[in-house]
Amino acid sequence: MFRTLPDLPGAAVRILIDGADVAAREGEPLAAVLLRTAPFTARTTPVTGAPRGPYCLIGACFDCLVVVDGVPSRRACMVPVRAGLRVERQHGRREAAP
């Protein structure tokens, strides 16, 4: 689907997406990594469970919500990649358990 530009700045790092080890560049938006990593989605919706992926890429549409280092509902397009980031795709409604 998408590939990284050959001259992308930032150090080569590894992050975890749903437990899988994925290559990324430090400082690039997490949404960019999701867009080139199958199945290219970020979350499923709370009401119908339909899949959603990064869309607006400017923080407005909230379609790229993921769990980042244990914190749900982070907008992947607003999260710069750091080495060792732990990312989980978010499914349905968020739990508000104590």
């Binding site: 709370p46 914190v71 349905g92 409604r93 968020r94 508000a96 358990a97 104590p98």
Partner: protein, 376 residues
């Protein structure tokens, strides 16, 4: 060229929850009402409400209002069934009982005292609202961890909830299917009464009506005066927050938290006297959010996705106003609790208006109650 005046037997002025419920009830009773709704930029309390059908705590000083509230809440299950069928719109209605949270012993004591007063004024055996202490409250809310300051709540089994935007839509659709006509962007700017008929000024020209029902919310005052009824009212601002959609957390509606069928937790509400200012404030949001987190600490980590405000209708004593003009042809309906009272409006008050007179039980709601005689 002036367009020819349109004519209707009965016109409802105002297409909010009150007007739409009355138009539905009139159409259901066999009338062919014309509903004239206001402009998109008009004040619309029906887009800022919380969606609770609420009995508890209402009506201090006015037992007739306690009775009306209970009557309407008890009619809601029947209304919800027939309205969903008539409109095809799901309402997310449930009558599950409701809670009003008390933080600290003082709030608990004040709430208990209010219920004692209301029970005494209503004067029936077996009052339907009780105080529940923390242990019983935890059993009512098995999925929620309560903050340490929560000492208890009041509980009323007659309380419930509905999606208020869907209810408004359902009333409009069902009314039209039953023969009502609804015209949007048709604010009535002036009413002239002549020879037992009413001429209403609208942007698209005059509308003539045999009878009128003024349900124009915060815009009602001048229109009621032109129809011969002095009605005191003022806007009261209510700000609301809603969180992202969450897994089921609250099995029943509460003050100040309600979880919608889709999962968002509504957090209400301010009650502010700021004239016609519909803005939101950081202070208002912070106040509501802080109280919500004192009740349910898990909300601290949840994301608020929307913050808005609306101007709700308030009367000098907080109770509704229903009146019929001296000439009999104009009716005024005004209330703060358009959701709770929608069932009474649709199923009982509208049919009475269609027959030509307000129900006798509504006599205490006449605005004459605000006319304090001058002392010599």
């Amino acid at each position: 060229m002036t367009p020819a005046a349109r004519a209707a037997d009965i016109v409802v002025i105002g297409g909010g929850l009150v007007g739409a419920a009355l138009a539905y009830g009139l159409a259901r009773a066999g009338a062919k009402p014309l509903l004239l709704d206001g402009d998109d930029r008009d004040l619309r309390a029906a887009r800022a409400n919380f969606g609770i059908i609420w009995v508890q705590g209402k009506g201090p000083g006015m037992p007739a209002y306690q009775c009306l509230t209970r009557r309407s809440a008890s009619l809601w299950p029947e209304l919800a069934r027939e309205l969903a069928e008539a409109s095809g719109v799901g309402l997310d209605f449930r009558r599950s009982g409701g809670l009003h949270f008390c933080l600290g012993a003082d709030e608990y004591a004040a709430r208990a005292a209010l219920l004692d007063r209301l029970a005494g004024e209503l004067g029936t055996d077996g009052y339907d609202t009780q105080m529940v202490e923390r242990g019983a409250l935890e059993r009512l809310l098995p999925g929620a961890r309560l903050g340490q300051e929560v000492v208890g709540a009041s509980f009323c089994a007659g309380d419930g909830e509905v999606n208020p935007l869907r209810a408004l839509h359902a009333f409009q659709v069902a009314a039209m299917r039953l023969g009502a006509e609804i015209r949007g962007a048709s604010p009535v700017s002036h009413i002239v009464v002549r020879e037992g008929a009413y001429t209403l000024s609208t942007p698209e020209g005059p509308v003539r009506a045999g009878r009128i029902v003024i349900a124009a919310g915060n815009g009602l005052g001048p229109l009621a005066a032109q129809a011969g009824l002095g009605v005191p009212l003022r806007p009261q601002r209510g700000q609301l927050l809603v969180t992202e959609r969450l897994a089921p957390l609250l099995p029943l509606p509460t003050v100040p938290l309600r979880q919608t069928a889709e999962g968002g937790v509504l957090i209400g509400s301010t009650q502010e006297e700021v004239g016609r200012d519909t803005g939101t404030t950081v202070e208002g949001a912070a106040h509501m959010a802080a109280r919500a987190c004192r009740i349910l600490p898990a909300l601290e980590h949840m994301t608020v996705v929307r913050h808005w405000a609306g101007l709700r209708v308030m009367t000098p004593d907080g109770h509704p106003i229903y009146a019929q003009s001296p000439d009999g042809g104009a009716f005024v309906t005004l209330c703060h609790s358009g959701v709770t009272l929608a069932a009474a409006h649709a199923l009982e008050i509208a049919p009475a208006i269609a027959r030509g007179a307000l129900p006798a039980a509504l006599a205490p709601f006449h605005p004459d109650r605000f006319h304090v005689p001058n002392t010599a």
